[in-house]
Assembly symmetry: C2
Homo-oligomer: 337 residues x 2
């Protein structure tokens, strides 16, 4: 069944394939691996992002495969295939199935599906399909399949956008709009000086997010009579054994706290810290206190994770790490020996 | 051109449409508006996420439209349509075109395309197409179009995932993996006590991201001889005019800073702050200093934005706002009168 008003050649623009591909890549997608078996039963799989849903009743999905793909005749012959929507933890699997030539299925324990097609574990969702239609699509063939079985997990999916893997994070325009409206309403026509900054100022957001998070941890710190700079020094020593004074100072100075010789001597006198020729180390009393404080931090993190969701927490960690890398004032790696 | 090994009815699983739709929604997509014109020239447009690329040579894309959609006969008759990949700023437009019955194009100044189909401004990418094929797809028709013109902008796109609008943020597994490997290598078999926390601890990441960001702003603060708690007090007064002492204290206490009566008296004595019956207000000297400090914060934000990209900065702001909402210790809205 086709209807065509224009022949493909008639109006093809003189386009640069790479530029066209770039424009197409502005459409974000998930990442899938699609699997089948050869006539002799060998498992075959490829990474594809040309998947999409088609029909609810009957349940149908589609994807496209290049006419010059070595696996095209296999998929055409097999009539059955599984679509795996990859989770954010399956980036390596995506890369593996995007390449040719290796034994892609080595070391993978397959799940049992309703068809013979290989069923990979650990995905965000899976659709087991039978070919219903194969359609002409220029340099690709469009496979339309009936979904005969499917399942899903709560694991956040992997995304692909502009040639990069990505994570999704929920959009919250509503807040920004609300605040902008409030500010406009407050200042409009009141003859007031405008606010010097808005709630979009990144420095404000970083500070407020950090201090509010830390607000839940501060009581545990205060229970042990630790000041903020005590806590920063003990944090460094929670990760590094035997650290010279200058390294402790180096790793805490960017916070604005001053951990000098006097502060360290004071920590030793209060038995939070031991010192020997190899440097400073956390005492067992210090370690117990830090374990208690870090437990409070983990409880706060878990609470926030429950409210925001696992996906959001992963994305937030991810963005904070990338910010840290970009604003790093040249710190030695804290976790590196 | 069709090939079918299975009739649609033969193997349809007894599936719940809502559950099936949920599983499908684990495949992230961009959001598009697809437009055309009726025979009499009226503009028509619908929101769709069933778009995907098909072919590079010739350039072709596809999307699906429900057979019971009121616009189906219009698209079938028109033969020309434009696909707009919406930017993250076009959520409202997406919602508008997802509904029926209003004049969706009211107030929009259209761009001029190569076909008569309406061309919307402000999108991440646009594809002007002519129908090449219409294919059977269960309860949908699959439209395959030849791309006769296209363009794109650097504006980050809007995403749709699990029934929510979303933003994408680049994935950086590499860092986390590197750190985990370092830690394992450092501690394995060395008889060392394990580090009490890893670089994945959210509290650590929030603190380090914040302090490193603020590190670039601190010199501006110190130039004016302002302490951290001075700065917090002036920050509140940069946004709120005439504020009672208890409100300043309320809005700064969660940072751990103490802005008490003595601190306020000191700020007044140094001419950073004025006080009258209506409360405390920032002086013109204070306002100048804060403008200088906030300019430093904006420069640091701009620098980070250039390194991370606009999309990442938007996603980071977004996640910080959502964290702030969830960890709010009950602060009155700073920007609200």
């Amino acid at each position: 069944m086709t209807t065509s008003a224009n022949s493909p050649a008639a109006n093809s623009p003189a386009l640069d394939p790479r530029d066209f591909r770039n424009a197409l890549s502005m459409f974000a997608t998930g990442v899938t691996i699609i699997t089948t078996r050869t006539a002799s039963g060998e498992p075959v799989g490829i990474t594809a992002n040309s998947f999409n849903s088609v029909s609810l009743d009957p349940p149908m999905v589609l994807w496209s495969l290049a006419k010059n793909a070595y696996s095209l005749p296999i998929f055409q012959q097999a009539k059955e295939w599984n679509v795996h929507i990859l989770s954010n933890e399956q980036e390596a699997l995506s890369n593996k199935f995007a390449k040719k030539g290796e034994d892609k299925f080595a070391g993978i324990t397959l799940d049992q599906g309703v068809t013979p097609s290989p069923l990979l574990p650990g995905c965000s969702a899976r659709f087991q399909c039978r070919t219903m239609f194969e359609y002409e699509g220029g340099d690709h063939i469009i496979f339309v399949g009936e979904v005969v079985a499917y399942d899903q997990t709560p694991t956040p999916p992997l995304l692909y956008l502009s040639g990069n893997y990505a994570l999704a994070t929920k959009k919250t325009n509503a807040i920004a709009t609300e605040i902008a409206t409030e500010m406009a309403a407050e200042h409009a026509g009141q003859g007031k000086a405008p606010a010097l900054f808005s709630e979009d100022l990144l420095g404000y957001l970083l500070g407020r997010a950090h201090y509010q998070f830390f607000h839940a941890i501060r009581p545990a710190m205060q229970t042990h009579g630790l000041s903020e700079s005590d806590f920063f020094a003990l944090s460094v020593l929670s990760v590094r054994e035997h650290t010279p004074a200058e390294d402790i100072s180096h790793h805490t100075a960017y916070t604005g706290a001053s951990v000098d010789a006097k502060a360290l001597a004071d920590l030793v006198a209060r038995d939070w810290v031991r010192v020997d020729a190899a440097g400073y180390a956390i005492s067992s009393k210090g370690r117990d206190a830090m374990a208690h404080i870090i437990a409070a931090a983990k409880a706060q993190e878990e609470d926030l994770g429950e409210k925001l969701g696992a996906l959001e927490l992963t994305a937030l960690r991810n963005l904070l790490k990338r910010s840290i890398m970009q604003t790093d004032p040249g710190l030695a790696k804290l976790w590196k020996a």
